[in-house]
Structures are given as structure tokens and as C-alpha cells.
Symmetry: C2
């Protein structure tokens, strides 16, 4: 399926919710209530997002979470990385030289290019896009062009 983990999905929903009310401080309990998900799980997700630097937290009464930067400066790739680690399709796309099958594999290079293309795409989608109810209009030439041969193998 090549799908996101459920937690990542939650993270996106929660981030979008916060992004829609950027000036307020959002308590984990409130968010959990709003998005109809179990509180401890939402809480866990929020902590991961803080650790990744996408949210800031404030303890104590009237505390809660806020975006660390504007929604248009947070990308889908950021959110995914925060929960799942770096976006990469294969083991060897993240750290090269680790795969002892490289010799017989023969597809590693091209998978890496595909991986990069996907990453670029995900970096072009911002939280502002996701949170908006209007359809995304993705930038047209940029992402694909940047992954073609010249950019990668240079």
C-alpha cells in the first residue's frame, strides 16, 4: 500500500487543526476531543511533533501547543519525517553503502531517484495546503524537473 502509518495520519489531522487557529494555544485534551481520537495517542503524537521542531509547547495552566512556524513553512515531508523518520523508499535510499546486496541489486540508483522525486513532491505540499479545504494546486514544473538526471547524478 505504501501508506502512511496511522500516527502520521493523526499528526497531519492535528497539525491541520492547529493551523486553522494559529493564535490559540491548544491543549492535548482539547485537540483529542476535536479530532475524535484517544487522548494518550494524540498526546504522544504531539510530543513527537515538538521533538521534530514543528510545534512548541507551553506547560502549565493555559498552556498547550502552537505551531513553531507558519503553516506555509511546514511541509508534508516535515510531518511525515517527524513521525516515521526520513522519507525514503528503500533501505539504501537513506544511507548508502549499507546494503550488502548492492552488487546483485542493480536497481538501487534508480530507486533513489524515484525516492527523491517523491520527497520533493512532499516538500512542495505545505501544511497550509493540507489544512485548507480548497484543493491543492501543486507547483507545476519545479519538483519533477529537479529530479531528472542532471540534478541527481551531478
Amino acid at each position: 500500500m505504501l501508506k502512511l502509518s496511522r500516527l502520521t495520519d493523526y499528526a497531519a489531522v492535528v497539525m491541520a487543526q492547529i493551523a486553522r487557529h494559529p493564535q490559540a494555544s491548544h491543549a492535548a485534551a482539547d485537540l483529542a476531543e476535536t479530532v475524535q481520537l484517544p487522548h494518550p495517542t494524540v498526546s504522544k503524537t504531539l510530543k513527537m511533533l515538538v521533538k521534530a521542531g514543528l510545534l512548541t509547547s507551553q506547560r502549565g495552566a493555559q498552556g498547550g501547543y502552537r505551531l513553531a512556524r507558519s503553516a506555509s513553512q511546514i511541509t508534508a515531508a516535515d510531518i511525515i519525517s517527524a513521525i516515521e523518520g526520513p522519507v525514503a523508499m528503500t533501505e539504501c535510499s537513506q544511507a548508502q553503502g549499507e546494503c550488502e546486496l548492492a552488487a546483485t541489486c542493480g536497481v538501487a540508483d534508480n530507486w533513489q531517484r524515484v525516492s527523491l522525486a517523491i520527497r520533493t513532491l512532499l516538500e512542495s505540499v505545505t501544511l497550509a495546503h493540507l489544512a485548507a479545504s480548497t484543493p491543492i494546486k501543486l507547483p507545476v514544473q519545479l519538483p519533477i524537473q529537479s529530479i531528472s538526471l542532471s540534478a541527481v547524478s551531478a
Copy 2:
């Protein structure tokens, strides 16, 4: 990580190997030997690829596997779907109306667009590309354009 499962990875490697010698019939044992992976696992993978219609098989002595169609007509998306099922980032990207959280979610539509963009990208990469040792040159305007608003929400 948004990564492919290990079996999918194997599938790509094996498919590439077959694609490099399209006229020959490839026994599972030979392929396993060539790509240095356990025989039963490779065998399992091959069966899935047959079931998905990407390979044809011939039983008996001198039997083995061959591509069901030319390498340039088999896409990365085909291979991934064969092993992992349809390419979709979220639960609701594959079958709509299934998610009871849709009301509070608010990001479903846009995730689906992203999902579609990735699928389109993966469909533009063929087995011929993967098997070639030369870098892929992905088509430039096509995929991204096709996912922008008009194509999806129409």
C-alpha cells in the same frame, strides 16, 4: 519512512533481472542464486507477480518465469501494487466513505491529491528504467500537471 516492504524491494530486483534477459526462461532457484536471496522468499515473490499479471510461468522441466509484457510496459506502480496492494497514502485514499472520522479530519481530500500525484509518478517509471543502469530521465511536465485540481475534483 514511507518505505517499500522488503518483499517489494525483492520483487523489483528480480523483475529487473528478468528484464535484462527477456528471452530466457528463469527458474526461481536460478534467480534466487543470482540475486543472492533465499529461494523460498524469491519464489513467493514470483508467485505474487504472476498473480498480478506481470510475469507468466511455465511449469515442468525447462520451465520458469518470463515477463508477461515488455519491460517498458511494466511500471514501478505495477510492481508495488502486485506486492503491497494499491498505492495510496491513507486509508481513505483507496476507498472513500469508509472513514468515520472524515467529518473531523479535514485533510482527506488533499491527501488524496498527493497520493494521486505519487501514483502518477510511479506509473511514469517503467521496469525498463529501473533495470537500466543509466539514470532515469523522468518525463517533465506530465505527472504533476495531471494531478492539479482539474484532474482530481472533476
